[in-house]
Amino acid sequence: MIFLYIGLPLLVAAILPLVGKISKKFLPDLLANGVFLTLFVLALTSGRRLIGSGPVLQQFRWMGEDTGIALAVDGFSLFMLMAIALVTLCVGLYSINYMEHYGSKSVYYALLLMMMTGMNGLVLAADLFQVYLFLEVAAIASYALVAYGLEYDELEASFKYLMLSVVASAAVLISIAVIFGMTGSVGFAAVAEGLRALDSRAAVGFCSALFIMGFGLKAALVPFHAWLPDAHPSAPAPISAILSGLLIKVSGVYALTRIFFNVFGLTPALSEVLMWTGMVSIIVAAMLAVGQPDMKRMLAYSSISQVGYVVLGIGLGTPLGIAGGLFHLFNHAVAKGLLFLNSGAVQQATGTRELDQMGGLAKRMPLTAGTSIVGALSITGVPPLAGFWSKLLIIMALVQARQGLLAVLAVLASVVTLWYYLILQRKAFFGKLEERWNSVKEAPFWMSAATVLLALIAIGVGIFFAAMLKTWIQPASDALSQGVQALSIGGF
């Protein structure tokens, strides 16, 4: 029942403020995390059977009658749904402890559920305009969540984020309007067919440019990244995790990929643009990450850099490249989520985000330090952790496609990534334990549980990478590789 992915979070979010009046903390915690867990299990188990024979278009029946809601699922959407559910679940669990002092937990969880509704809706939409609509749902939730603490930094970051996002939305909508004008429709299948019949390169190019501008801003691709290094660090840690781990990928990379592959069709020119945009992001962000004194800011720049890898892999367009890009999307979601959650634990324990003021925390917070190392090594691409395989795939794909220069740059950037993560680990966790941190305690139960879960997944996926590739990445990659044809199978 695909509609559950959207209907369930929406419904629970709607009743949560009322529930919050009865029980301030326990019930909201339980309900919200219950939803996340349910959807995760759902994605893991039933989804596979559903798409066993190709993409599926499911009509939502209400009381036995057909409503007009038809939702589309294929390998790519299912993969995203699983990733969304997993990271949101961990963020939800973490929030049980972390958001204690922020107040109004029920409203917080309601916003988190709305963000999930938006992301799930975006992934399941089969229509250009609906992609935009659910993107805004998630975005509005995120503006409020970034500013949640109502401190000065958060408000400023959220406001700037909002102002830049509206420009991005306008770009996307204008592009949709032009496409609407050309083809008379906004549904994926109809537009794909119409564009093929028309063959007007210049107009499609113009619309593609607008989409790259709009979705690129959401994905924080350079040069549209300026909002992220302010927004992600200022937000409360679990929100930083879900923003960096999921939102930039769902509303940025997924939307872009879906439209470019299944609606427009990937042309060589588009492929070049995507690859080089990705590469610029990788390099610029990695360079900027090195000198950052603030832990979360360094992680934020790292996100921009790693999303570059994802776009690089997907932009390449070969099945291997797409697989590598998608795998890296998942690995980064897990690892970056993990790292941001840990940064929150550190911030809560020490009261600071400045790396130079930390030191030797590993002695007092072993779990946090251990899981951080796992996360950092995974992103950097150290075997046998998951990130190693995804980066390897991307580089292999580049070599195979004779993109030698890009392959070399990707490897070099990896070295820089390793460098700044080592700096982060050393400054925060190793070295001499500062006097004032002597009485620091390990993070509370749920926070640790969430990060340990993510770390285990990073390790597990790294060891069992072949299985991961076969069951999750392959169907997703296939759905994309089939390109514009994918939509006609299964009757979109």
Partner: protein
């Protein structure tokens, strides 16, 4: 045709005035008038529901929210916009207008469009049957906005 162009010019002019006006209240009224023009344009184009929505929601509701904010932020004092911004604007606008006209005239023969048949059904059918998922999205976006406002205006008893 002439009527449409006049209406479009009205929309544009009031929008520009709203941007450049020094007094925020005048800006608000000007913006509301621009919305009014846009609503009328929608009517003329055969989109009466959109026109009604535009006028009642944008010219009405948003203007009210706008006035509310102006009242609540009086303590912000007066912010003098840079003289340069106001002076540069005409230059900017003429530049944009020229490029605009040039691009549009130039594109005229070039853009290919699909010929399409007449639209079927009534508006109600289109909205409720074809775009039902949009309505779910609308509900979601409204809830998101409501929760956002609730979160941003909440009373905080103990905040660390």
């Amino acid at each position: 045709m002439i009527g449409q162009i006049l209406l479009l010019c009205g929309l544009l002019l009031f929008s520009i005035f709203a941007v450049l006006a020094k007094d925020l209240i005048k800006s608000a009224i000007s913006l509301a008038l621009a919305s009014l023009f846009l609503g009328i344009i929608f009517f003329v184009m055969g989109a009466p529901y959109a026109g009604v929505f535009e006028i009642s929601v944008v010219a009405g509701l948003i203007t009210v929210l706008f006035m509310l904010t102006i009242a609540l932020t009086k303590s912000g004092g007066d912010v003098r916009e840079s003289k340069a911004a106001t002076l540069v604007f005409p230059v900017f606008f003429i530049l944009v207008a020229l490029i605009d006209i040039f691009v549009m005239k130039g594109l005229l023969p070039k853009l290919q469009v699909l010929q399409s048949g007449a639209e079927s059904g009534t508006f109600a059918e289109v909205l409720w049957k074809q775009r039902t998922f949009d309505l779910v999205g609308q509900l979601a976006v409204i809830l998101a906005g409501v929760f956002a406002v609730l979160a941003l205006f909440r009373k905080k008893d103990n905040h660390d």
